[in-house]
Amino acid sequence: MGTYILRRLLGMIPMLFAITVFVFLMMHAAPGNAIESMLNPRIKDMAALQAQLIHQNGLDKPLPVQYVDWLGNFIRGDWGYSFAQGVPVRQLVLPALGNTLILAALAEVFILLIGVPLGIWQARRPYSLFDTSTSIVNIILFSIPYYIIAIFLIYFLAIKLHVFPSQNAVGTGPQAGSIVDHLYHALLPALSIALASSAVYSRYTRGSMLDVSRRDFTRTARAKGLTEGVVFRKHVFRNGMIPIVTQLGFDIGSLAGGAVILEGLFAYQGMGYITLQAATQRDYNVIMATSLIIAIGVLLGNLIADILYAVVDPRIRYQ
């Protein structure tokens, strides 16, 4: 197992290289440059000043050299300076990363608490009234885009009932910044993601459980006189959860990036929100840092998915 993980980590290196090159080149393909957008075009000697600043920032070096410089700085933790916010990028990105991780973790918890049990209950009595009615609700929930669910949640829970905040990742007052405060602010966006996703998860779970409960080994377990509870716990549940666990791993990465719209909607200061902000202000250093981190997050998520797959399914042996 250890060697497998090590090999997979080494195998990630070419992909990481491709990602950094892509992010770097994309920012360089952008029309205009950061210096130009910073300077007031009416100042005297604009061209000379611009040339001087470009030289000072190393923007006149050959591209590969610039790339190596940028990558070296990035690895050392110098992620550049946010021109629009006036702070180093790291100071902006690290708290945002924390906020996004809280949001993603909370969303996963909701998905596991809503989607999986629902799927299991549906699979226990397939085509019963409970199964069909919840399946219809699932199709509808799945078809309502998550941002529209979010708008309705804001409307009912934040605006009408004043139970939850509709804005920001942390509140004001003495409680601000505590873990409870963080969770309180992440609750509505997390619920908006989870409602739609849990519809998908319950569908997966139901299908997987039904599939396993029709297998020969389940029939054997019943035939040798095990109680329904034991059959379910030891045979159906363990095998039925294998695809779900893998899916969960894949979602870890995509949740981080997929929450862009919701973070924008809730003004929740996570990775997505600062990327949006940077995109409107064309703050290239921030965009480079966030898209790189999100891409690495997705890559790690996929790795975790593969490892989880090997952990829960003893039939899989990675050599």
């Binding site: 491709a18 994309m26 920012m27 085509y127 309502i144 862009v260 990327t275 064309r282 898209s291």
Partner: protein, 302 residues
């Protein structure tokens, strides 16, 4: 029934000029029996016709601002009231459908085309072509679709709807490419493909005449789901200001225009209709997709 009688039966059918039905014909007939899918087709057609024929339905302009008539509640002249710039919202909801349906339709075609060509080559040749295409797909999967579009739109300052369509189309193909590759990899091994190869058919002939028609079912189903996804994605982008740019109306940017505390609280007629239209359209397309899935793959039925 013995084999002989089946044979006799088919001869008899041929002699009475009753042709056996093709699988696609059978699928079509199964689809026509699915009430939910048919109702969805009708609603979707209705929405499409209403947005194309918008000038026939309302005389109000979807662009004309009027400072004297801002934030009006619904009335007989303005069926859904006006927005903060005095533009008639009913007209905007109608005309807005054009942008969303156009994006959904054109992007589905672009994405399917790229996916079929790339996935087709990868699935047919396998070997190094497959390896290259799949590595590119893996690479693209590392960047969440919505995020990639936002970054590209921001960097290149996209404000034209056609460029937005191109950006969306050229970033969303990896999923379909993977699907097509998987489908082709299995069909490739069948005897009729071998027969075609031996009789000297070209690669493209085999892909378009043999592999493609035989994987039509899953492709059509996924194309419908893709269309729903594209319409949803436009609205999502518009909600955060990166979709179709106002003053051109789209359901997404009407919704985006209503996202402030006051409008949400006091003027539901601004944001409920576009939200409902987006949801209804996506719901209909998903039901049609489900119907198509059942129609093409009868084993999927309960």
């Amino acid at each position: 029934m013995s084999l002989n009688s089946v044979f006799a039966d088919s001869i008899e059918k041929n002699s009475t000029r009753r042709r056996t039905k093709s699988p696609n014909r059978l699928a079509f007939e199964r689809f026509m029996h699915n009430k939910l899918a048919l109702i969805s087709v009708i609603i979707l057609l209705l929405i499409t016709v209403m947005s194309i024929a918008a000038p026939l339905i309302t005389h109000q302009s979807a662009w004309q601002t009027s400072l004297m008539q801002t934030d009006l509640p619904p009335s007989s002249t303005h069926l859904l009231g006006t927005d903060s710039e005095g533009i008639d919202l009913f007209a905007r909801d109608l005309y807005g459908g054009r942008a969303d349906l156009l994006i959904g339709f054109v992007d589905t075609i672009i994405t399917m085309a790229i996916g079929i060509v790339l996935g087709g080559l990868a699935g047919y040749y396998s070997g190094w072509v497959d390896a290259v295409v799949m590595r590119i797909c893996d690479f693209m999967f590392n960047f969440p679709f919505i995020l990639l579009i936002i970054v590209i739109v921001a960097i290149f300052n996209v404000s034209n709807i056609w460029i937005l369509i191109l950006v969306m189309g050229f970033t969303s193909w990896p999923g379909i490419t993977r699907l097509v590759r998987g489908l082709f990899l299995t069909i490739r091994e069948s005897e009729y493909v071998l027969a075609a190869q031996i009789s000297g058919a070209s690669v493209w002939r085999i892909i378009f005449k043999h592999l493609l028609p035989n994987s039509l079912g899953p492709l059509v189903v996924n194309a419908t789901l893709l269309m729903a996804g594209m319409i949803g994605a436009e609205a999502a982008l518009a909600v955060v200001g990166f979709g179709v740019k106002p003053p051109s109306p789209s359901w997404g940017n009407i919704l985006a225009g209503a996202l402030n505390f006051l409008t949400l609280q006091t003027e539901p007629w601004v944001w409920v209709p576009p939200a409902a239209l987006i949801t209804l359209t996506i719901l209909c397309i998903n039901f049609i997709g489900d119907g198509l899935r059942d129609a093409f793959d009868p084993s999927f039925e309960k």
